[in-house]
Amino acid sequence: MTAPILAAQGLSKCFGSRKVIDGVELNASRGEIVGIVGPGGAGKTVLLKLLAGLITPDEGTVHAFGNDFAGLDADQRAAVWERFGVLFQNYALFDFMTVGENIGFPLEQRRRGDEVGKGAAAAARSAEIASRVAVRLREVDLPGTQHLYPNELSGGMKKRVALARATIADADVLLYDDPTAGLDPVTSSKIFALIERLHPVRTGITVVVSHDIDRMLPVCQRFILLDKGRIRFEGDRAAADRSTDKMVRTFFDSSARLSGSDKTPIGVHRQFSSIELLSLKGGRCSPPSSLEYAPSGAQSKQGGGLRRKLRGVRSISILSDPLSEPTADEPTADEPTADEPTAASRVSR
């Protein structure tokens, strides 16, 4: 095995008296795409920033390309950061710059570092940056938006501009914090396709934090489930499927398809997966009085039967915390299909 590009040992971080990251170990080797999942507030964003050296850990170390962040001086750290590209959860687009300037910024910064060009050379370099920006913008489906300011963009557009900025400089370590939060399914798929295509297979790694399990599954080779600052599960998809941990099963089976951001409001109408309906059938919940279920594909027959069973349902409540899902560990032969929108839901009176 090659030396890891990013290695975190015994990472801990407190904010006030709360331990947000607690003893996290993480190694990512050349060519890997690592997916990080976990409930909101589990510390995924903090972990990503620790890995990027933007937050200093209270305990433990982060090595990037073999260098310990804590031991680097400003110039060395600058050199390491030049090989990083990060898409931040809150877009982090500079609101005092246009879209074009935002995306070109990492390149401009680099130029400032090495060549203080004048005249023709500088003009040529500017033209090159502009053309790379234009290419990236086309790739994220936003051609010709260079002159707009971030406050003129929708959330989805901002995410895509941020993705373009994170990847413009061909970084070796790409970190994405919830790249598809709040995006429509078509755009989300495009973004994940782009993440896969821009992955530096030969030179680096990609780490994706997301709730979009369906789209992560085919892209990521390895998953980490973070819960309350600790690693609860680590392994590939097969291992996740074998796991007997309730939470792991919930995440990788159905509940992660709560999809969207940490901020998904409770109470939005969702469809239900066959698992939950099976559990209803098993009578583990008291019969509710109103429930909508739109069966799809293979499950429609079974769902139809259930619908009959559940007539007279009055209200449903939707859980934000997949752990409370009472039925997730119930064995079922019936895997929901990957593209079926489903949700963990508890049925209440």
Binding site: F15, K49, V86, F88, Q89, Y91, A92, L93, P106, Q109
Partner: protein
Amino acid sequence: MAALRLFRDTWRWTFRGSLRRQSGPFARQLYEVGNRSVVFITVTLGVLGMISVFQVLIQVERILPEFSVVGPAFIQTMVREFAPTIAGLMIATRVGSGIAAEIGSMVVTEQVDALRLCNADPIDYLVVPRFWACVIQTVLLSVYGGLVGVCAGAVVAHYAWEIPWGTFFSLNLVGYSDVTSGLWKAAAYGMAIPIAASQAGLETSGGSEGVGTATTRAVVNASFCVVVLDFIISGLSFMLLLGK
């Protein structure tokens, strides 16, 4: 203290040519600071000038009906004290809150993280242009505010008490030390306000409520700095006068 470190780093970046690189943002900040506070300062110092001349004249009329000294004495206090300090307090609230809110929301939306990751120092990019814009504008606005206050006072004196323009507008009492003291105050406020506000902004944590807290803290700290610096500089210039 963190604010002192920020102050030192701001100067350091300035000497590394930060302003030349950030000339665009600097020009914009100059405009913003001026634009945000000019109406405020006109109104406050205008009203304050009118009221204080009015009050003083009522008192003077009772004690010694001799008005010739009112104008020069008023102008002296204006130059030495009111113009810079009132302008400073207005800028502390108006501009200080603006700076903290802007920088605070950049912290919350991770723009500051993104700057750092691109090896762009947030002090270089965000603080230096605001700092120098604030220094220059505080001095200019103090001078302007002083003029407004004096003119407003003169209008009251002229129309309500029929004091001739020439008698009121007299620089007899205004000495060199009054002018330098006033300018030093303005410059000191101009430095303290953006530093206090930027520091509050950079320390923002935890979502949009965090920005609100930072803004409040910026205004409180910046106003406090103005008052303390007023006291210190007044004391120093008084001691210098005694020493002569």
